[in-house]
């Protein structure tokens, strides 16, 4: 699990070493903070939708059974101790007894059972139903003990307890008020409670003074939803927000020169890649490989990330465990031209495909997509680019209507290799547009493997095979850009979490 290298955490310091401008009042006052965030929560039901950008907001209102430290090691949270059986078919959990939901009721093992089993069995349409599909039951011998039973080995279950959508919700409250009312007045056990919510505009949170864990330093957190990158950069520059993320890298460089601001580029545990299909314009393996060879990843990193994003040859972060040094995929437009010629394509008679990208979801996504389209045009691939919303990726994939290539940032907060290749390449999961079953069978086989070392070797081989047959075009390690007032301290996480409960004015 300790898979994230130091490089990830050290980041690339860009901020000029000037003293903080103390003369100015902060946007949020001295016991509050205002944050410019790129997207809203999909709903206030934290189990409902997997949206990585909403994760830090959910983490204010709700708690996860397990948490991660800044280096992404699993640490206790609602669960004080956990023990996975050697065959990975059951997981014993011991819960804290001092956790209280915002409505005053204590958190019990029944709430955990409800979150990960009961509400799924009750037919709630939640994305966690998919992640926890292998749970056959959760036994609750006492109010603070629970045993999760799986119908297939689940070696990564502990990691999932700290991953997307795994937030414990209060069973009785949710049952009493119903789902719609829960969405309007959410109740969690987190360090903040929701004070005001204007959909698509702002979220105001007040400190939960009876929080069981470390008390946050700031009393009030205002999250301003700003979808436009230029707006976010201007807002942090003019002091309307105290901190924002995902601004263009060149804006980070500019804002870093402002005396009151600190600007950072943090490589995080996300990979930017092209998800590809195995049919349509990409049915031909040579065309897929040509598409991969034609991309100059170094130039992309240089132009859009100030060279801070590491070019990748495999769909995993640059971590020696998942990314052995003996494999590199060459950037070679001439080779691409030769491969295309084999299929009868040239710049004059290009292979035609469609490509999708998000815009504003991560820094420079739209620019990267357009740059790739231009690189392809040089070698003889004509791509028609369309912009989609991050959430639509799943919808289109389910309908099997994703285009041949999609620019995608795969978030893997856990750092476990399974969550990369295994999810990206498994045709049974909502992430993968690659529908060839041969690769998928190998991936599913690895999911059930209980031995950790064997599994890791398996994932490495699978990732490599995927790249070699053109089932996946990894590009860059993702870089999180963050601009804040210099006087606002926060704790950086290797997966890019920005948590207001770790912030304080210094």
């Amino acid at each position: 699990m300790a898979g994230i290298s130091r490089r990830v955490l050290l980041g690339v310091p860009l901020a000029a070493g000037l003293p903080a401008d103390a003369a100015r009042a902060w946007a949020g006052g001295d016991d509050g903070v205002t944050i410019g965030w790129p997207s809203d929560v999909p709903s206030w039901d934290p189990n409902r939708r997997f949206v990585p950008d909403a994760q830090p907001i959910f983490k204010m209102v709700y708690d996860q059974p397990l948490d991660q430290d800044p280096r992404l090691n699993l640490v206790p949270s609602l669960i004080a101790r956990w023990q996975l059986a050697p065959d990975a078919r059951s997981l014993e959990l011991e819960l804290r007894d001092d956790v209280v939901f915002h409505d005053g009721t204590p958190m019990r093992s029944a709430d955990l059972r409800w979150t990960f089993f009961g509400r799924i069995a009750a037919g709630h349409r939640v994305d966690t139903a998919h992640a926890w599909r292998m749970v056959s039951d959760i036994e609750t011998p006492s109010a603070t003990r629970a045993i999760m039973r799986f119908n297939s080995p689940a070696p990564t279950a502990p990691a999932w307890l700290a991953f997307l959508g795994s937030f414990v919700v209060p069973r009785d409250y949710m049952r009493k008020v119903g789902l719609a009312a829960f969405g309007a007045r959410p109740v969690g056990s987190g360090p903040y409670r929701l004070a005001e919510y204007q959909p698509r505009a702002r979220i105001v949170l007040e400190r939960n003074d009876s929080y069981w864990g470390p008390k946050p330093a700031l009393r009030r957190v205002t999250v301003e939803i700003m979808r436009d990158t230029a707006t976010r950069a201007a807002a942090v520059q003019s002091g309307q927000v105290d901190l924002t993320i995902s601004v263009p890298v060149r804006e980070v460089e500019r804002l870093a020169r402002m005396p009151a601001l600190a600007a950072e580029l943090n490589p995080i545990a996300r990979v930017i890649l092209l998800q590809v299909r195995d049919d349509g314009g990409f049915a031909d393996r040579d065309i897929r490989l040509a598409a991969h060879h034609a991309i100059d990843k170094k130039a992309l990193s240089q132009a859009f990330y100030g060279a801070a994003a590491v070019p990748l040859s495999l769909p995993a972060p640059p971590d020696p465990q998942a990314h052995p040094d003996d494999f590199t995929f060459a950037s070679d437009p001439n080779l691409a031209i030769q491969l295309l010629a084999r299929s009868g394509h040239s710049a004059a008679n290009p292979a035609r495909i469609r490509m999708a990208t998000t815009k504003g979801q991560f820094p420079a996504d739209y620019d990267i997509a357009r740059a790739i389209v231009a690189m392809w045009r040089q070698v003889g691939i004509a791509a028609e680019l369309e912009v989609i919303d991050y959430a639509r990726y799943f919808e289109l994939n389910r309908a099997n209507r994703l285009p041949e290539a999609t620019l995608y940032a795969f978030d893997n907060a856990t750092g476990d290799p399974e969550a990369y290749g295994g999810y990206l390449l498994n045709p049974n999961l909502p992430f993968s547009p690659w529908k060839d079953v041969a690769l998928g069978r190998k991936a599913t086989g690895l999911f059930d493997m209980a031995d950790a070392a064997e599994r890791l070797a398996g994932w490495q081989a699978l990732n490599r095979e995927a790249v070699e047959i053109g089932a996946c075009i990894p590009l860059l390690q993702s870089v999180q850009t963050l601009v804040r007032r210099k006087a606002l301290a926060y704790r950086p996480y290797g997966n890019g979490w920005v948590l207001p409960q770790t912030m304080e004015w210094v």
Partner: protein, 336 residues
């Protein structure tokens, strides 16, 4: 004929117009390539579940039947739920519509003020060399679209001078007072002066961008109608009676221009709402425009059609208001 009867007679055409507007909207949204049933379910929904949702929405029936189902639900007030935001559309509208009306109303007031001042200036300069210059000025002013003003204002007053906020409706550390959704009104009713100030300051730049862009046509029409009015007999007589020019202008001429100017403003309001769409997007102002653009990007059908209908309703409301005003101002119109 009384005022009320005249109004009532005019209201008779509203239902057929609304019916036509709904048909137009239905056709427009059904051209969309998205699958409305598939979009209302989570990523892992089965093909059966999607098929069931399709049946429920009538998507397997002919278009005419779909329209009937759709219209029936609208008439019953059932706007559906946002498939992307997973909330009742009515709740989204309740937040967005007042925000936009407030902004557009302020912008229109600003445009009217600027239009009045500019129109009077143009009229005062008539026949002089400066008129040409002022007139060319209005043409140039008319050629700068609202969104360019918006970008300019953000750059100058927001970023360079840091004088004005340019995102959202309310400053941080302030809670939105509940009530009608009209922030200026709500904050006054709640006696929350800080919120009122903050809300007003947040509206200055977007309203100014829209107001400046929509003032020139008002200047033009006011100027032209003043010239027309001055040719009319009663103004000539008033001038011949030796009334002061200011008095003639303010008491005799100006009231006579109200009709064309009001008519223009009614037409302009629809255009201004359209302009507000991009301006809202630029200022991250959570109104109807931002809601619609968001919905279009996500092919969120229920929201798209509801916002489009809301635009219709607002424009219709403004038209009715102006028609009523004109009828009240000008009894001659009632006979027609």
């Amino acid at each position: 004929m009384t005022l009320l009867a005249a109004l009532a007679r005019r209201l008779l055409v509203v239902p057929p117009i609304l019916l036509m507007a709904s048909l137009l909207l239905f056709i427009s949204v059904r051209v969309l390539p998205a699958d409305p049933a598939g979009m209302s379910l989570p990523p892992t929904a089965s093909a059966d579940a999607i098929a069931a949702a399709r049946r429920q929405m009538g998507l397997d029936r002919p278009l005419a039947a779909q329209y009937a189902i759709w219209l029936g639900r609208l008439v019953a007030g059932d706007l559906g739920r946002s498939v992307h935001l997973r909330r009742p559309v009515t709740a989204l509208l309740a937040a967005a519509v007042p925000a936009t009306i407030e902004l557009a109303g302020l912008a229109m007031a600003l445009a009217a003020g600027l239009g009045l001042a500019g129109g009077l200036l143009l009229f005062a300069l008539r026949g002089e060399a400066a008129e040409m210059l002022a007139d060319a000025g209005t043409t140039l002013l008319m050629s700068v679209p609202d969104f360019l003003w918006a970008l300019l204002f953000i750059l100058v007053f927001g970023v360079l001078l840091e004088a004005m906020p340019f995102t959202g409706r309310l400053g941080p550390a302030l809670l939105q007072p509940g009530g009608t959704g009209f922030l200026l009104l709500d904050s006054l009713l709640a006696g929350d002066i800080a919120a009122f100030r903050s809300a007003a300051r947040h509206m200055v730049l977007p309203a100014a961008a829209l107001g400046i862009a929509f003032a020139p046509p008002i200047m033009r029409v006011l100027h032209a109608s003043l010239i027309d009015v001055y040719c009319a007999d009663h103004i000539r007589q008033a001038r011949l009676r030796g009334l002061s020019p200011t008095r003639v202008l303010l008491c005799h001429a100006l009231p006579n221009t109200a009709r064309p100017v009001l008519k223009l403003m009614a037409v302009q309001f629809g255009l201004l709402l359209g302009g507000a769409l991009l301006v809202e997007e630029i200022f991250a102002y959570p109104g109807m425009g931002a809601l619609l653009v968001d919905a279009l990007r996500n092919a969120d059908l229920p929201v798209i059609q509801a916002v489009a209908l809301a635009y219709c309703a607002v424009v219709l409301g403004i038209r009715a208001l102006v028609a009523g005003l004109r009828l009240a101002l000008d009894p001659r119109l009632r006979a027609r």
